[in-house]
């Protein structure tokens, strides 16, 4: 149909896929770790296994996937050009992988020297990534709140990495820093300033586009990012000021804006005219319901300190945030991004459009919804295991199996891409 058209110079498909194909296997490791270590992991958020598990998910799965997605999302959604994407991805991805393994091993085996060894790799990988992405986001002529949220998010990533590096060095060298306060600020920037800010910004673009909802209201997209940033800055003041009496005044509004984002996304899904119940929509629903559950239980822990005093309450919130919200949203996004990229890159081969298969043929729908069901089961078991440690091993196995299925689905999609690509080339 349009073999004469030349297509855009988006990065080669190997750039995002290098990250996507690795990410789920860190989740498998996390599941195996839980299955091996059992119920003791969830006694508090400070156990070595809990710290290792958190970073396997947050760095190994979430960050790998989010970095890979940004390489593709920046040109496609906000028209920005990432400098030398192949070179940057080929450098950042293995460094990030190595740094994550060192950090996790340091936590798990109680070897501070490994924590310290991970720091330069993190600074090099993510420092380079932040600079290159920030330049692309500031140079693009595009406008809109997705772009602004992405700019704020990349700043959030920079702060998270700096605080994390300081914490690793403090643990390794016994520096006199307030470890607990610093950890609370580090995780707020990691989950709020980076992951949530990016998720919200990406949602403004992809929820209407892929889930066929109305757009997010302008007032919401204008206020959500700046309010989240303001609350994170106030939360961070605890490093310098004694805010313990005032913390509810920061935490409750924070939980309120989380609820607003989650509630609004569910409302947009509910009121769309063309109902689509594909894996992405369902995964987003799971993520948003988890966010509402986190907001309600977080508020309960603040308002009834007896509940919040149990160390397992923080683990409960952690499971909801990591497995319930971010693993769900990212898995759902991967199920849309990967088939779309397959389609886009097959188009760029220049063959007739009839030769390019439908996006729906890239990953079988049953494989995606089956994996989604297993993931939901894993989340439920993880939440139950926080209070019933006897379920932890089963939850770990379910988590490992769910991530392995995700990884397998993505590998299958890449194989199909290669098959279709060879067919189109042979026909030409």
């Amino acid at each position: 149909m349009h073999p004469s058209l030349s297509f855009d110079q988006a990065p080669p498909i190997s750039v995002p896929y290098r990250f996507f194909l690795v990410a789920p296997w860190f989740g498998v490791l996390a599941g195996i770790l839980l299955a091996w270590a059992g119920g003791e992991v969830f006694v508090s958020r400070w156990t070595p296994e809990a710290l290792a598990l958190t970073h396997l998910i947050a760095l190994g799965f979430m960050l790998q996937a989010m970095c890979g997605a940004l390489f593709q999302f920046i040109p496609v959604a906000v028209g920005g050009n990432v400098w030398r994407p192949e070179l940057v991805a080929n450098t950042v991805q293995p460094l990030l992988l190595l740094a994550t393994l060192l950090l996790v091993a340091g936590f798990l085996f109680g070897r501070p020297v490994l924590l310290s060894a991970a720091v330069p790799f993190f600074l090099l990988a993510l420092g380079g990534f932040v600079v290159v992405v920030a330049l692309a986001l500031w140079r693009t002529p595009a406008t809109g709140m997705t772009l602004w949220a992405m700019r704020l998010a990349i700043g959030g990533l920079a702060i998270t990495v700096l605080l994390g590096s300081l914490l690793a060095e403090a643990l390794a060298r016994g520096l006199a820093v307030p470890i607990v306060e610093l950890t609370n600020v580090h995780l707020a920037w990691g989950l709020g300033g980076w992951a949530l800010m990016l998720l919200a910004g990406v949602s403004y673009h992809v929820v209407p586009m892929f889930q066929l909802t109305k757009p997010y209201p302008l007032w919401f997209t204008r206020w959500f990012g700046p309010l989240l940033l303001l609350l994170l800055l106030i939360w961070s003041a605890r490093l310098f000021l004694d805010l313990s009496r005032w913390l509810p005044l920061v935490v409750l509004p924070l939980l309120l804006i989380l609820s607003a984002y989650a509630g609004l996304t569910l409302w947009l899904q509910y009121t769309r005219r063309r109902k689509i119940h594909d894996a992405t929509s369902l995964y987003f629903r799971v993520a948003m319901l988890s966010m509402l559950a986190l907001a309600v239980s977080g508020a309960a822990f603040v308002l009834w300190p007896v509940l919040g005093a149990d160390p397992r309450s923080a683990v409960w919130l952690g499971v909801l945030a990591l497995a319930g919200i971010f693993v769900s949203a990212i898995s759902g996004m991967m199920y849309k991004i990967v088939p779309f990229l397959n389609w886009l890159h097959l188009q760029r081969l220049g063959g007739p459009i009839s030769a390019v298969p439908n996006m729906k043929k890239m990953i079988p729908a049953e494989a995606m919804t089956g994996q989604l069901r297993l993931h939901v089961l894993a989340v439920v078991l993880l939440l139950a295991a926080v209070w019933q440690p006897g379920l932890a091993r089963l939850a770990g196995l379910a988590l490992a199996a769910s991530f392995a299925w995700l990884g397998w689905n993505l590998i299958g999609s890449v194989r199909r891409y290669q098959g279709f690509r060879d067919q189109i080339r042979a026909a030409a």
């Binding site: 149909m1 349009h2 004469s4 058209l5 030349s6 297509f7 855009d8 110079q9 988006a10 040109p75 496609v76 959604a77 906000v78 028209g79 595009a142 809109g144 673009h205 209407p208 586009m209 892929f210 066929l212 109305k214 757009p215 302008l218 005219r273 063309r274 689509i276 779309f340 389609w343 886009l344 188009q347 459009i353 996006m359």
Partner: protein
């Protein structure tokens, strides 16, 4: 003459496929009007490289009206 493609309730990549199909038969002076809720950067990139111009306007409900023509000269 104007061809209207309402892509607001179509899943990607359908709006792009329909737009590229419409451009194949677009006569000089005619335009394709594409309605979307987002900015289609991959499409803009293709238009830029293949001698098309476009203008974009936003409606109150968040709809973007994208008018595409062949570049003159």
């Amino acid at each position: 003459m104007s061809t209207v493609i309402d892509g607001r309730e179509l899943q990607p990549p359908e709006p792009m496929e329909l737009t590229l199909a419409a451009l194949d038969t677009l006569a000089d002076g005619d335009e394709v009007l594409l309605l979307l809720y987002c900015q289609p950067h991959p499409l803009y990139s293709i238009l830029r490289q293949n001698g098309y111009t476009w203008s974009e306007e936003s409606r109150e409900d968040g709809t973007r009206e994208i008018r595409i023509r062949k570049q003159l000269g």
